[in-house]
């Protein structure tokens, strides 16, 4: 299982949890399993999020691998200038 | 509106064009003479990207009407190099990375050439105030000022 850390504003969409455990091998699976477990997160993820895996920030690279002991954070979408 | 026939000299060559009396010299140079080196950054004489010389005097070509060029001698960035030989200012700007996007560069080069003709040994403050009418948003001016001061030194020393 991979522990996914949500930002605290998302707790209300995830039954008050700040970290959610999901079975996933890629970032795409992480997002898919999060929505399956907590459908309230669907609009958030559809609107666009960034995912940090072991300090590496992944936005569009949904195929990025995730290990069971990876430190995974859901972050707000990055925008650059 | 009836167009006016204008005969003028640009970088030593005689040029003729038809100008609407409302058209600026900048528009005429770009759209009628085909010299797009002078740029419009503001159209109000604030940014200096359109700098040219008119009978040797530095002007913003967006503040001069095309019809006012009649019989005048215009100098633009296209006339600054001598064939393939760059003017020392042009060469120094490349060497010093004194440009990033380069949109202000033609105006700044025309303006600094005019400065060095007038004042071959300018202080940093003099260069900064002379160029206060030429906006650059990329460089913070540092490398531009250094390029101008060092070109002036080279020219004085005959390098």
């Amino acid at each position: 299982m991979v522990e996914v850390n949500l930002w605290s504003g998302l707790r209300r969409f995830a039954d008050g949890q700040e970290a959610v455990e999901v079975e996933a091998k890629t970032v795409a699976e992480v997002l898919q399993k999060l929505v399956e477990a907590h459908p309230g997160l669907d609009p958030v993820i559809k609107a666009g999020v960034s995912v940090a895996v072991d300090g590496e920030i992944v936005q569009r690279a949904l195929n990025h691998p995730v290990q069971p002991d990876s430190e995974v954070f859901l972050l707000q979408q990055f925008r650059g200038g | 509106m009836t167009q006016v026939h204008v005969t003028t000299t640009v970088n030593g060559d005689e040029v003729e064009f038809l100008a609407d009396p409302r058209e600026t010299l900048l528009d005429c140079l770009r759209d009628k003479v085909g010299m797009t080196g002078a740029k419009e950054g503001c159209g109000t004489g604030d940014c200096g990207a359109c700098s040219v010389t008119l009978d040797g005097r530095l002007v913003c070509s967006c503040l001069v009407l095309g019809v006012e060029a009649e019989g005048k001698d215009i100098g633009t960035i296209e006339g600054m190099a001598d064939g393939d030989d760059l003017h020392p200012l042009q060469a120094k700007f490349i060497e010093y990375a004194a440009l990033q996007c380069g949109i202000c560069t033609p105006g700044i080069l025309v303006a600094t050439e005019a400065l060095l003709k007038k004042s071959p040994d300018p202080s940093e403050e003099e260069v900064r105030y002379w160029l206060a009418g030429n906006l650059c948003r990329c460089t913070g001016y540092d490398k531009i000022i250094r390029a101008v001061l060092d070109t002036a030194r080279d020219l004085r020393e005959g390098v």
């Binding site: 850390n5 930002w7 605290s8 504003g9 969409f13 609009p43 958030v44 609107a47 940090a52 300090g55 590496e56 920030i57 936005q59 569009r60 690279a61 430190e71 954070f73 972050l75 990055f78 925008r79 650059g80 200038g81 | 409302r22 058209e23 528009d27 080196g37 740029k39 419009e40 950054g41 159209g43 604030d46 940014c47 296209e78 600054m80 760059l86 490349i94 060497e95 010093y96 990375a97 440009l99 990033q100 996007c101 380069g102 949109i103 202000c104 033609p106 900064r128 160029l131 206060a132 009418g133 906006l135 650059c136 948003r137 990329c138 460089t139 913070g140 001016y141 540092d142 490398k143 250094r146």
Partner: protein, 747 residues
């Protein structure tokens, strides 16, 4: 993509002339407005004089009757089935039912000359019903404020907030109340910054040619022509690849040219008129109707022990992004405390709509405002506790493995290295003149990877052409050529780099997020490596040995050792000269969305003199210290540092959008919207720190954006020290300084 073991470089780190230098100093370089086409028409845009108004009727009959007018377009000429961000983009490009800000496009005209187009635009009659407007962020959130667009708020906004609040965020960790209780000093302040414009000297310009068959070409100044292609085709209902977009030379962007304003309008005019249409914005149009950055209203509270350890920090950011969702409050919140190792931290952010133009990205979008507030409070804590501001920062500085304030742990980063270099710099210990203060501030931008595609091809003579998709804003072609030359082992001069059109490569994100040298650079290196593999194979085939037995060095194939055989090395030119008969052209290509980008920290030192009689602030000395990872072309890295500092100084001292009560922009020319000029600034010293990014073969980090983040607080702190009064509102204009001085009773 891991860091190479290579530490000795032949080309990287040198300062050769940029390949486009000659064209740019002779006036030959072609920018957005420098394109012409046979039969070309000129466009002009009709813009709303009202900040908020219902469009009752548009009557173009008089304009269309004018001799030389070939087309008029309105919202009806664009796609009707859009939603979400595409709908916002279209609504900002050309108004639908309402105009939402002063300068909002309503219609456009194409005619045989620019003068006729402008005259005809004045003849388009628009009937408006004026609505109440709001331009201030705090006013827009207050009860009774005019609603810009009901129903624009997304899922994130809690109930009970004004409909103008369209996005909300809240995050943090630890126990901030316990943290504040453990502090020896707690400082809390409100701050405000004004909207500022990117201020690129080149106004938006394009030349569009779109046929009734849905096939088109567009020439425009942009930071990202694939973005332009996607946006324009969406807004016009075209198939993406039927529009070929060519990026002109670009006269500055700073984030503001990562979106579209006039390009879809020019395409619609061209489609309607059946001819190419050129459309160029005036400076007034640029300021009124292309994206400025957000203005912000902020509250920051931080606690510190007497030995300089931060115990807790909270921040609230209210940011307006114009008449659309999108104020960069997510980045502001995430990066506000990015410099510090904090156990107890909390952030709140509000994205608020007002009757202003849709904000666009501006260099490190969102970060400078947060840094202004946080670094100002940090400075006040140091002042209150009698601590050295660099030492206090070192006590709390993040490093590899620190959990960031927004969650993930940092990889190798260089904050401590920039602080130590700043402390060692002679500027930091230089004596200060009378009425002069010194400010210190650090800042961060995390940079970006993004979709990237590059190609490289070997010419018959062994020289090399490289095609990239990231427009060159400040010398990136030189950097790409240096990386290709280094990898291939051939002279810099033997590499030509072009920014190619959208028909030539896969999708490329813009030159934004400080990604060009990192991401395109990485892809160029990989393209070169692929070409080397092919070159080595040709040599191996010729020698009759295995490709693995060939080693590539100094631009030539060598047998890898005595066991591989005794062959005379084959240079790239030798192999290229025969490639037609040994298997055909030799190329390399690389596509990726690299995720190993590394953030860049910077620390700035500034001395500001304040004239106590006039309140005028003058920057007298400035030093930028920043981590570049690896500086490919140091001159252009320095240029990014200096340019970022200058823009930040302008934001701190001069620049602001000024609206009247009717929501009309009062300063829409450069004379009144005053960006720093040469006589405003001193030389800007630079120190390049190099802590290699582990995610790039040569250690590159992006350097473009970080530099605008520290100047706002650094300048404000310097002035605060000079006058003995904490400045919490930008810009720090002379009247504001005088009021502060007089309020303190200082003459």
């Amino acid at each position: 993509m891991a860091l190479d073991s290579k530490t000795e470089f032949k080309y990287i780190g040198t300062r050769p002339d940029r390949p486009d230098g000659m064209d740019k100093v002779t006036g030959k370089a072609r920018y957005g407005a420098d394109a012409y086409a046979p039969g070309m028409l000129h466009g002009a845009v009709v813009r709303s004089p009202h900040a908020h108004a219902k469009i009752v009727k548009i009557d173009a009959s008089k304009a269309l009757a004018m001799k030389g007018v070939k087309a008029v377009v309105t919202r009806a000429d664009f796609a009707t089935d859009l939603e979400g961000e595409d709908w916002d983009l279209l609504e900002n490009t050309i108004a639908g039912e309402k105009t939402l800000y002063d300068g909002h496009a309503v219609a456009a005209v194409a005619a045989t000359s620019a003068l006729i187009a402008k005259d005809a635009a004045k003849l388009v009659e628009v009937e408006y019903e004026i609505l109440p407007c709001v331009t201030d962020v705090d006013a827009a959130m207050a009860d009774g404020a005019p609603v810009i667009r009901d129903g624009a708020a997304d899922h994130s906004v809690p109930e009970g907030l004004h409909p103008n609040v369209v996005r909300y965020t809240e995050f943090g960790r630890g126990d901030v109340e316990a943290g504040f209780a453990a502090a020896d000093l707690v400082v809390e302040r409100d701050f405000k910054t004004e909207a500022v414009h990117q201020g690129y000297i080149e106004p938006h310009a394009c030349l569009a040619n779109l046929g009734a068959d849905g096939k088109g070409e567009l020439w425009c100044c942009t930071q990202g022509h694939w973005f332009v292609r996607r946006m324009c085709t969406a807004l016009l209902g075209l198939e993406t690849t039927q529009l070929r977009v060519t990026a002109s030379e670009i006269g500055g962007g700073f984030g503001g040219k990562t979106t579209v304003f006039i390009d879809p309008i020019a395409l619609a005019l061209s489609r309607a008129a059946g001819k190419p249409v050129k459309l160029v914005m005036s400076r007034s149009e640029v300021l009124k109707a292309s994206g400025p950055t957000s203005s912000a209203s902020m509250n920051v509270k931080m606690g510190m022990t007497k030995d300089g350890k931060l115990t807790a920090a909270t921040a609230v950011f209210r940011m307006q992004g114009g008449a659309f969702p999108g104020a960069p409050m997510d980045m502001t919140t995430m990066l506000a405390f990015s410099c510090y190792d904090l156990d107890n931290v909390h952030h709140e952010g509000f994205d608020v709509m007002t009757n202003r133009p849709k904000q666009a990205a501006y260099r490190a979008p969102g970060a400078p405002m947060g840094a202004f507030a946080v670094e100002s409070v940090m400075d006040e804590l140091c002042q209150g506790l009698g601590l050295d501001p660099i030492d206090a920062r070192l006590t709390n500085a993040v490093k590899e493995g620190t959990k960031s304030s927004f969650g993930p742990r940092y990889k190798a980063v260089g904050l401590i290295e920039t602080l130590e270099a700043a402390k060692a710099h002679p500027h930091y210990s230089a004596p200060l003149a009378e009425n002069t203060g010194r400010g210190i501030a650090s800042g961060y931008w995390m940079n970006w990877g993004g979709e990237t595609s590059t190609s490289l091809a070997i010419g018959e003579d062994g020289t090399v052409q490289v095609g990239v998709g990231t427009p060159d804003i400040g010398g990136s072609r030189a950097s790409m050529a240096l990386m290709a030359a280094e990898t291939l082992g051939i002279p810099y001069e033997n590499v030509r780099v072009d920014v190619v059109d959208t028909a030539s490569l896969g999708v490329n994100e813009p030159s934004h997020g400080s990604r060009a040298t990192y991401a395109s650079g990485l892809a160029v290196i990989e393209s070169a490596r692929e070409a080397i593999t092919k070159l080595s194979k040709r040599a191996a085939d010729k020698w009759g040995i295995d490709a693995e037995a060939v080693e590539w060095r100094d631009g030539a194939a060598h047998p890898s050792g005595p066991n591989a055989g005794d062959f005379t090395p084959l240079s790239i030119a030798d192999i290229a000269g025969e490639m037609g008969s040994t298997g055909g052209p030799i190329t390399g290509h690389h596509d990726a969305s690299p995720t190993g980008f590394g953030g860049s920290f910077g620390t700035h030192i500034v001395d500001v003199h304040v004239d106590p009689d006039t309140g005028k602030s003058t920057v007298v000395r400035y030093t930028v210290v920043q981590d570049a990872g690896k500086a490919i072309h140091p001159s252009y890295v320095e240029g990014q540092f200096q340019g970022g500092a200058a823009q930040g100084i302008g934001w701190a001292l001069n620049e602001e959008y000024i609206y009247d009560d009717d929501g009309r922009l009062q300063n829409d020319v450069f004379l009144d919207y005053r960006i720093p000029v040469a006589s405003d600034l001193p030389m800007i010293d630079t120190v390049i720190v190099e802590v290699p990014n582990p995610g790039h073969p040569y250690g590159v980090r992006g350097v473009g954006e970080t530099g605008i983040t520290p100047p706002l607080p650094a300048v404000a702190c310097a002035i605060s020290h000079a006058i003995g009064h904490r400045m919490t509102r930008l810009p720090i204009s002379p009247p504001r300084v005088l009021r502060a001085i007089q309020g303190k009773g200082i003459s």
